[in-house]
Symmetry: C2
Subunit: 322 residues, 2 copies
C-alpha cells in the first residue's frame, strides 16, 4: 500500500494510492511548524489516512512526500523550507523510522507534475507550471520526472524577463517570478482582501485601468513562462497549477489572449500552438500527494552528480509505465 | 560502415565513422545549391569519403545527414533550408536511392550536439549552444537527442529577452537571436571586414566604447542563453559552438565575466555554477558530421506526434550507449 503526502505551508494532504492511481483514501490535517512539528504532523497524516482506509501501518509498503524547499531526492533531506520554518530536516530517515516503511522525498512542484501527468492520462512530455507564492515548473518525460543534472530543472521562475525590473528573492531583477506568481500579485496589487489575485481580477473586471494593466502584466508573465518551456523543452502540454490557477478561466483567457496576440506578429510562434498546449489543473485533484506516492513507490534516485539517469529510472518497472 | 554528412551553406563535411567514434576518413567539398544541387553534392560527398577510406559503396551500412532548416526526422524531409535555396527536399528517400543505403536526416545543430556529446565523452545531460547566423541549442540526455514533442526543443533563440527590442526574423522583438548570434553582430556592428565579429572584438580591444558596448550586449546574450538552458533543463554542460565560437577565449571570457557579475548579485545564480558548466567546442572537431553518422546508424524516429519517446530510442542498442 503506497501512501503519498503533500506537505504545504498550512495543511498536509495525505492519500492512499490505488493501483489505478485514484486516491483510495485521503485526509487533510494542519501542518506543523519547524522540523519537529513537520515531522510529527507528517507521521500523524500517514497514520490517519491509513486508518481512514481501514488498514494498518504494517501494510504500508512505501511513503512518498512532496514538500516545498530544496530537496535532495537522493538522501531525502529538506533544506530552506521557509514556509514551514524548516532549516534542515532529514525527513526521509526520520519519518521512515517512525512509520517502519521506506520514505522518499521530492520537491512539491515536481511531485505535482508527476501526479498530474498520470492523473490526466498524459503521454510524451508535459510540464506543470506552478503559480504559487513563487513560480516553478515540474517537467515529466515519458512518465518520468526530469530532474536535471543537479535537481534544478524547471526553476524557470528565476529567468529574468524585465531588464532592471523588480528585485526578486533570488537577487536578480525582473525574474518571471516577479511578474507571474502569488507574491508578484501581492506586490503589484496590495490588497486587504484575500486572496489578492481575486481582488485584482475583480477590480480589473470593474474597469480599474491600473488593475487591468497589472492583470495584463501577470497574463504576459504566464504566457512568457509557457513560451520558455515550449521553446526550450518542447513539452507537449503545459498544465497551470498552484494558487493562481484557482482563478480558472479568468486567468486562462487573458494568458491565451496574450499568446494569440504574439502569434499574430510571429507566424513561427503561432505554429507552436502555445495556447492549445495549455490547460488548467482541475480543482481539487490531489496531484502532489498522488505524485508523491508514485515517487515513494519508485526506485531510489541514484546519487550521481550530472548524470540525469535517475529521472529515467524513476518509474521503471511500474505497471502504469507505458 | 557508417557515413555522416554535415551540409552547410558553403561546404559539406563527410566522415566515415570508426567504432571508437573517431573519423576514419573525412573529406570536404563545396555544397550545391537548390534541391538538385544539394542532392548531387551530398551523393558526391558520400562517394568521395568512402573512396578516401579505401572502401566501396556497398560497404556503407547507413548514412546520416545534418542539414540546416526544418527537418522532419521521421520522414527525412527538409523544408525552408534558406541558406541552401531549398524549399523542399525528400533528402532521405532521394539520397538513399542514389547510395543504396538507408539515410536519416537531422537538423544540423541537433546532429552537432549529439556528435559533440560523444566526441567529448560527456555523460548525463548537455546542450550545444550554436552561435551561428542564428542561435539555437541541441539537447542531449544520457546519450540521446532530446527533440521534444514536435522536434522544437532547443529553439531558445526565439525567447525574447529585450522587451521592444530589435525585430527578429521570427516576427517577435528582442529575441536572444537578435543579441547573440552572427546576424546580431552583423546588425549591431556593420563592418566591411570579414568576419564582422572579429572586427567588433578588435575595435573593442582597441578601446572603442561603442564596440565594447556591443561586445557586452553579445556576451550578456550568450550568458542569458546559458542561464535559460540551465534553469529550464538543468543540463550539466553547455558547449558553445557555431561561427562565433571561433572567437575562443575572446568570447568565453566576457561571457564568464557577465555570469560571475550576475552571480555576485544572486547567491542562487552563483550556486548554479553557470560559468563552470560552459566550454567551447574544440576547433575543427567534426561534431555535426559525426553526430549525423550516429543518427544515421540509429533506429528510425517514430512518427508519433507529442510522444517524445523517439529521443529515448534514438541510440538504443548502440555499443557506446551506457
Amino acid at each position: 500500500m503506497r501512501v503519498g503526502l503533500d506537505i504545504g505551508g498550512t495543511k498536509i494532504d495525505a492519500v492512499v494510492l490505488d493501483d489505478d492511481l485514484t486516491a483510495a483514501a485521503n485526509v487533510r490535517i494542519p501542518s506543523g511548524r519547524g522540523a519537529d512539528g513537520v515531522l510529527a504532523s507528517a507521521e500523524r497524516a500517514v497514520r490517519e489516512v491509513v486508518t481512514t482506509h481501514g488498514a494498518s501501518l504494517v501494510e504500508v509498503s512505501s511513503v512518498g512526500v512532496g514538500i516545498p524547499g530544496m530537496v535532495d531526492a537522493s538522501t531525502g533531506e529538506v533544506r530552506h523550507a521557509v514556509n514551514l520554518d524548516v532549516e534542515h530536516l532529514a525527513l526521509s530517515d526520520e519519518l521512515a523510522a517512525r512509520i517502519g516503511a521506506p520514505v522518499r522525498v521530492e520537491n512539491d512542484v515536481k511531485a505535482a507534475a508527476l501526479g498530474a501527468y498520470h492523473l490526466l492520462g498524459l503521454r510524451g512530455s508535459a510540464a506543470l507550471l506552478n503559480l504559487g507564492t513563487g513560480l516553478a515548473a515540474g517537467i515529466v518525460v515519458d512518465g518520468c520526472l526530469w530532474r536535471g543534472a543537479e535537481g534544478g530543472a524547471g526553476e524557470i521562475g528565476h529567468i529574468p524577463v524585465v531588464p532592471g525590473g523588480l528585485l526578486c528573492s533570488c537577487g536578480q531583477r525582473g525574474c518571471l517570478e516577479t511578474v507571474a506568481s502569488g507574491s508578484a500579485v501581492a506586490r503589484l496589487w496590495p490588497s486587504e482582501t484575500e486572496p489578492p489575485a481575486v481582488a485584482l481580477f475583480d477590480a480589473a473586471d470593474a474597469g480599474d485601468p491600473r488593475a487591468q494593466q497589472v492583470r495584463r502584466v501577470l497574463a504576459e508573465g504566464v504566457a512568457s513562462a509557457v513560451r520558455v518551456l515550449v521553446l526550450t523543452v518542447d513539452v507537449g502540454a503545459v498544465i497551470l497549477a498552484g494558487g493562481l490557477s484557482n482563478l480558472g478561466d479568468r486567468l486562462l483567457e487573458p494568458v491565451r489572449d496574450a499568446l494569440h496576440e504574439w502569434g499574430g506578429e510571429s507566424p513561427f510562434l503561432a505554429s507552436l500552438r502555445l495556447a492549445e498546449r495549455m490547460r488548467m489543473l482541475p480543482p481539487r485533484l490531489p496531484a502532489a500527494a498522488v505524485g508523491a506516492a508514485l515517487v515513494g513507490g519508485s526506485a531510489p534516485v541514484a546519487r550521481v552528480e550530472q548524470t540525469g539517469t535517475e529521472s529515467r529510472e524513476l518509474l521503471e518497472g511500474h505497471p502504469w509505465k507505458s
